[in-house]
């Protein structure tokens, strides 16, 4: 990686692009959505100056340092520099929280800090702020392998997610597994089906023209088969998010990834 760029004396952009290039996959045939993208889309993701998702990273950094709520605190008040305190966090979320006896994701944890420690209002799911903060936090783990825990107390939640993944739904009567396990790599008309991995989320999706959360994607995939989706932030999607993160174990965090 990157040696020839080092000698080339090119712009910093090229150097970054080389050092951040994402490996095509991890072990066991587990493949990132990145590996199914066109060279153009991959190029957009690889170059921080072209990657439209980087705007959410910048916005997230500002919010990280902004005091909000009655307690007069910012995220940085407690967590200091995100580059160290948030490094690796994305690799272990969603995770079981013994206090709520459920699985929580990063969005949930951000809002919990806001209400409990900052005495600030929670951000709405899919709001610009919650997306930016989630992108910013996950970005601190870019390149690190996904490694969620599915042992111990997490087991029943993992199993619920697995059941969801394999259950047919909607008028088209399809489960997640029909598209993303049984038929990954095949074409559904112009769409190349990927394994439906979440390592790049929140992703910048060209079709959306903005960043979007894992739960937004789940809702979209549910509606596609004409099934009633669950609410973003619902227990059902938390469990599903845990299961899907486990399917992608070992894949590098890519946030903010660029997808079609």
């Amino acid at each position: 990686m990157g040696k020839r760029h080092l000698g080339a004396g090119l712009a910093v952009g090229a150097l970054l692009a080389a050092s951040l290039a994402v490996p095509a996959g991890a072990d066991d045939g587990i493949r990132s959505g990145y590996s199914y993208m066109t060279p153009e889309t991959k190029g957009m993701q690889d170059d921080d100056f072209q990657n439209p998702g980087m705007i959410w990273v910048d916005d997230g950094e500002k919010l990280w340092n902004t005091v909000d709520g009655k307690a007069g605190k910012a995220c940085a008040t407690c967590h200091k520099d995100a580059a160290t305190s948030m490094k690796g966090v994305a690799t272990v979320y969603p995770k079981y929280d013994p206090k709520i006896k459920k699985v929580k994701n990063i969005e949930w944890q951000v809002n919990n800090c806001r209400t409990e420690r900052m005495q600030a209002k929670p951000w709405k799911y899919e709001s610009g702020q919650l997306l930016a903060m989630t992108v910013y936090i996950r970005h601190q783990s870019r390149g690190m392998p996904m490694n969620v825990s599915v042992d111990g107390d997490a087991i029943p939640f993992f199993q619920a997610g697995e059941k969801f993944y394999n259950q047919r739904r909607g008028l088209l009567d399809m489960a997640c597994k029909h598209c993303h396990a049984d038929n990954a790599g095949k074409n559904a008309r112009a769409n190349l089906l990927s394994q439906g991995q979440t390592n790049g989320f929140p992703v910048y999706r060209l079709k959306w023209q903005k960043a979007g959360s894992t739960h937004r994607r789940f809702r979209g995939c549910n509606k596609q088969v004409r099934a009633t989706p669950y609410k973003a932030g619902s227990d059902e999607y938390m469990n599903l998010e845990l299961y899907v993160a486990w399917r992608g174990r070992g894949l590098p965090v890519e946030t903010p990834a660029v997808r079609n």
Partner: protein
Amino acid sequence: MGIRTLAVAAMGVALTLAVHGDAAAAESVKYKVVDESSIPKSLTGKPGDPKKGRALAINRKKGNCLACHVMPIPEQPFHGNIGTDLNGVGSRYSEGELRLRVVDPKVVNPDTIMPAFYKTAGLHRVLKKWQGKTIIGAQDVEDIIAYLKTLK
């Protein structure tokens, strides 16, 4: 952004037989599966129209068979390859076998991704606007069968 990327992005999710379909038909016709392999009798008693059937196979909100199958429809780009190539399918199966595979392919393969195009029973969390509806109507099924029979 490359032109190809743009084209793909604009295409959106083609598979989705999309959210704004015309009102689909309810499952009003009863049919009989024979030997778990065939529905020999027409659903409507009216002959199918192969021209209409071909159009339904293309229509993303109706059959959308092209989402998953290669078919002899050269003017349409991007045929899916999830299912079998349907070239010659009219010689491989009888009319009744074809009908079963469109009406309820899960009788043949319980694990298949292919939707049952004329079935309302046993579904989970169907969106309200589609509840009690089938993906296509009984005459649509017959039109598609008439078209598949021409694929010799």
